[in-house]
């Protein structure tokens, strides 16, 4: 029990450090510059140095802020991010909680994130924070719908809410290949929706630097800010892990139907490498979006969800149901 707790904390901190470094390296790579390369070999220790810097900064609470809620918000953000680690299958034999309603658990817990953001924005006694929090509230709840509907299409196809069983149902090919075009549409909608749900650019209205300085965490400093930052990156990792699990087969190696020899060769690559490879590929995609698309305005953002993504994903679920009943997937 204690070992599992320590293992998760270690993984958590390690992922945070790796993802922050990766974000900066990807940004540098896309903008044709070097990025962090001075601290440690190839800039590997840059995020550790940043953490140390944040550790010695004073964590202050502004006058007139609601002190209790202001200090509680980062704890809730961390708790949500940590709880989401439970049902994820990191490898064929490593899963903290093999839960039979894993998909429902993930959808339920991930929607608690908005509470910490609203709490932080409301308690800060700052207009920028409040605006950012309200925006992100409207945004996260809206995009949750199409994310939920595209997740639902995989549940229809695999007939299970258990994340491990969903992975096992992809033993003869990942859903994105088995499910033809409707599943590809569901996958694209899923990626758009989770980018919005984790407040990443081009949907980073909650912390739009050029309008709101930093949005809901304007008043946070030192370790409290670091906790928000860490939780945000862990959330990106988790939504990508869920995407990889549902659409790209999780830890399942790349298998083609009944090609025994080919499948056997693929099985030699350890399952955790498959899982992390797919997840980091999706994370890379989301980081790529940030430097490709300009930020949306709030009315455009809500139009995109309510007038395009939601009707499309509702229709898509019907299509996939028809496909599942007729058995049109492999």
């Amino acid at each position: 029990m204690v070992i599992a707790g320590i293992a998760v904390i270690t993984l958590f901190a390690l992922l945070g450090l790796v993802l922050v470094l990766m974000e900066r390296r990807v940004a540098a790579w896309i903008q044709i510059r070097l990025g962090p390369n001075r601290v440690g070999p190839g800039g590997m220790l840059q995020s550790l140095a940043d953490t140390l810097k944040l550790l010695v900064k004073e964590g202050m609470t502004p006058d007139g802020a609601d002190k209790f809620l202001f200090n509680l918000a980062p704890f809730i953000a961390m708790m949500v991010a940590m709880l989401l680690m439970a049902p994820i299958a990191f490898a064929s034999d490593f899963q903290l909680w093999n839960l039979n309603i894993g998909v429902l658990y993930v959808t339920a817990i991930s929607s608690l994130m908005v509470i910490s953001i609203l709490m932080a924005g409301w308690a800060s006694n700052n207009k920028y924070s409040l605006m950012g929090a309200m925006r992100s509230g409207a945004q996260i709840v809206s995009y949750e719908l199409s994310a939920g509907l595209s997740i639902m299409s995989i549940v229809v196809l695999s007939g299970s809410l258990n994340l491990n069983e969903i992975i096992l149902s992809q033993a003869d090919g990942w859903w994105i290949f088995k499910g033809h075009i409707p599943v590809v549409i569901a996958f694209i909608i899923f990626i758009i929706a989770v980018t919005a749900e984790t407040n990443r650019a081009p949907f980073d209205l909650a912390e739009a630097e050029s309008e709101l300085t930093a949005g809901f965490h304007t008043e946070y400093s030192g370790m409290k800010f670091a906790l928000f930052f860490l939780a945000e990156y862990i959330n990106v990792f988790i939504v990508c892990a869920i995407g990889a699990t549902l659409f790209l087969g999780g830890w399942m190696p790349f298998h083609i139907g009944h090609w025994q020899a080919f499948n056997h060769v693929m099985d030699f690559i350890p399952s955790s490498i498959w899982f992390f490879g797919k997840t980091f590929f999706l994370i890379f995609l989301i980081m790529w979006f940030r430097w490709t698309f300009p930020r949306l305005r709030i009315d455009q953002l809500l139009d995109l969800e309510w007038k395009y993504l939601l009707p499309i994903s509702m229709f898509n679920v019907l299509l996939i149901t028809l496909m599942a009943i007729l058995g049109w997937h492999f």
């Binding site: 007139g64 961390m78 207009k127 409040l130 304007t218 139009d303």
Partner: protein, 116 residues
């Protein structure tokens, strides 16, 4: 590990965050001056109350979301048994989505989805 993993994870999150904050309390040097606690608004003193009236749109979208979120919860048990139930499941979900879509169209017609 079962359901106890939730408790372990909550405790892990709380310990991790508290240790981080407590350690930083010890290693930092707190200073104070009258300007420091002011809310940050680009340097000028703030005017008016922070908790001002906000656009009604934020709340409207939250209300519409509630309807659809309940629908999503109904879909979960349905999605698991689609393959067993067969055609009846498709008929049911078409009726369900039709009623839902009528509500959606009503909200659209009333202008609830327009940002003002």
């Amino acid at each position: 590990m079962g359901a106890s993993s939730m408790i372990v994870l909550i405790i892990a999150a709380l310990t991790f965050s508290s240790i981080a904050i407590v350690v930083s309390k010890f290693v930092t040097k707190a200073t104070s001056n009258p300007q420091k606690g002011q809310p940050y608004e680009c340097g000028i003193p703030t005017t008016g109350k922070t908790w001002a009236q906000l656009n009604v749109g934020y709340y409207l979208f939250a209300l519409i979301f509630l309807i659809f979120d309940v629908e999503l919860v109904f879909l979960f048990p349905w999605a698991v048994v689609v393959k067993k139930v067969g055609w009846m499941a498709l008929v049911e979900i078409v009726i369900f989505f039709f009623i839902l879509f009528m509500g959606f169209l009503y909200a659209h017609k009333k202008g609830a989805l327009k940002w003002v």
